[in-house]
Symmetry: D2
Subunit: 238 residues, 4 copies
């Protein structure tokens, strides 16, 4: 949904310098771009707009556009995969990011299969360490955006956020947002309705949660960057 | 693990004719065959051996050997996919089966991404109906086999079994089994240990659960086949 | 919601004798009766009406009206509990039932704490066996009814149904139903709306799922009762 | 398990002043003290020892020792409950705490019913705000300790940690730890084994995770306290 006046004012009134921060948003819709618009992207775009408006450099990745191999190693080409876009096209952006947001649709109440591919590939780097001997994701913060036509935001967010904190990201308060409609089949987020309105665009709850998520990710990324990461005491790998 | 004497006796003493029943086992390990042995297959093989021993015709599919497209339509080639083994190589076996068992490893406490691909593709057929106007999976029974080196059998089984019943399979009592080791990294199912033994092969709990799962799947498949499926009253799609 | 004409016709046209079957519905709302109407009960009542209309004897239990002890033993008074209504007031009804349906509200995306109390107490009997040396729940079928004002039907149903099958109930296809509204706070099931309508009462999807769940529970209970339970082969406890 | 030399050295070498920080550990074992030792407490004690050793003031609460009402209001006595220890005995400690750790056993793969009671009661305060108009839990950090004899640490931790971040706590990296044994029934954490050893006490993985969790909770609590909480921009309730 287009940012509303309150959200635009948050950008206009922002006085914190975020220009040294980077974010990566990975959309795990099952559809490639040629298969049509991603409802999840429609919602993710608001968080991207807010971050970019505040000066953060954002990379957006639609995973289905890439040939990402199945597996739990950093480069699956070394393990028999015919091709693998992860090591060269995706990982460098993830590694450089201070903020990592995963977007996913809901299928049968769960995140998409491509979302799990991404989680498995992120996990593949969990043996790597930073220069403080902490897991390589230490210092990053993680969030989650979910859409479906019915049911499952929390179920999905709890596995996605759990995975992110498990590998080393910090999770700020209320680090997820999403939209679903009433029980049953129906419009997906942003679908044009009979009355010309677009599904979910008038949902203040979703808008508010997205805004809170976005700023909390920014606050924590700022705090961790300024602190030089998380103190390396009691939490190193050796 | 090789069937033990009790299990062999169950085969030898079986007096029920299962020769008209078919089962399909789909292994969703992330590894293709060239990447090595699947620990999940090692456990699935016992259930297969029990069913085949009792006369059921079993198809075993290692999903990673196939080029299965992402998506939620029966044939993704019609929706832009470059290739899709599902409609011709997988679906006919699923459609013909009375028993459907999904095997999966555990990654970050959840089923594999390939397992979710399979669930999404099964779901893609949920609009199809049988000749009684019930969902096409009515009359089939579903089960689940899970392995990991630590933690997650129940979490995985509950999403897999939920998905199967949601699309129309019946779930007998105790329709899952699995093996995990103690918290922490360690051997996977069937790995050779320092003392020459193989991890999990001495686990009576896993063996018992596998046996119960297998026979309950067979009992319910027999019962449903003999009854001509589920009565079509109050549960048709229209 | 009041049964509609299609549902009433299913009752009127039913030709199967269910009069020897018993069902127990346990509502795990957090509210005692004095705290007001249970939205979950409002939905459960439809399934109860359908079953009673077809001749099944139904017991309805609102767990919050009872003093059920925490614990995983059949009678917690023997383990230090001050009081425990489970062994005398709840368990005999569960034990006698052919069909067991658990209803629960959603809190933070999960089933209620009282729902987990019930699951723990059901589990406490899992060491008991029937006269065929199968777990005591063998021969019963299980279902689940869920309501919330937003998000979580599937997440809740998958843990509840998993628990029921784990202890020995069979789960028919589509053995759950529920209602939630659009993402965000809002009306609960059956709440009177500004326009005088009641939330969710016009939801055909919820109504259809409830009907299918109810009849599938009845079909499987009928089938298992007629078969004298599940054959005792390969699935006994010893 | 008793702290080992590495853990003792982390206490001895600590140079950060934590004396102004408070932590509350809530153990949600189903057993009251008279019913015996809590395995979950045995593991929680290590995290408590580390925090106290570093100067943090720790409150330990065994929820089963209290009469906590079911419900989602701050004081259930105002809503018909006969008694409710939450508002006077539990909430003031939670409110004062910088660090909130929930410990729970696993039953059927899920957190205990008492754990869900605690989550529901924490949630009951989610409409309250701090003096910056943020949710009242902003500025606190949350963690989770889980024990069982088999399977479920991650499934439990993901719902518990999700709930904590949902109501406003920050979740540091790797904010959970736990112990489970191999698949099947068996010893619980700390149980004396045949050889005199105590189950899980030699598990380096559990010990390491507990240590990392504890120090990450401390680092984030220190960081948030020093920053005066989370900046109130884009994340207030109005």
């Amino acid at each position: 949904m287009p940012l509303n006046d309150s959200q635009k004012k948050l950008i206009a009134d922002n006085r914190i310098d975020y220009s040294d921060l980077k974010a990566v948003f990975i959309n795990t819709t099952l559809k490639s771009a040629s298969q049509g618009q991603s409802h999840t992207e429609t919602l993710m775009r608001d968080a991207i707009d807010l971050m970019e408006g505040c000066g953060i450099g954002v990379e957006y990745i639609r995973a289905a556009e890439h040939d990402i191999a199945f597996g739990v190693q950093p480069d699956m080409r070394e393990h028999g995969a015919r091709a693998d876009d992860w090591p060269e096209k995706i990982w460098p952006k993830v590694e450089a990011a201070d903020i990592l947001v995963i977007g996913t649709p809901i299928w049968l109440g769960e995140e998409s299969s491509i979302c799990r591919v991404i989680i498995e590939r992120l996990y593949a780097h969990s043996a790597q360490t930073n220069d403080k001997d902490q897991y390589v994701y230490y210092g990053k913060v993680g969030g989650c955006v979910v859409t479906g036509n019915e049911d499952g935001i929390k179920a999905v967010a709890n596995t996605v956020l759990y995975s992110l904190q498990h590998i080393g990201c910090a999770i700020p308060p209320q680090a997820d947002c999403g939209w679903i409609g009433e029980a049953g089949p129906g419009a997906s987020y942003g679908d044009e309705q009979d009355d010309g309105s677009r599904a979910g665009f008038d949902n203040d709850f979703t808008r508010k949660n997205l805004t809170i998520m976005t700023f909390n990710l920014m606050h924590f990324a700022r705090m961790l960057k300024d602190a030089g990461g998380i103190p390396a005491y009691g939490n190193t790998t050796s």
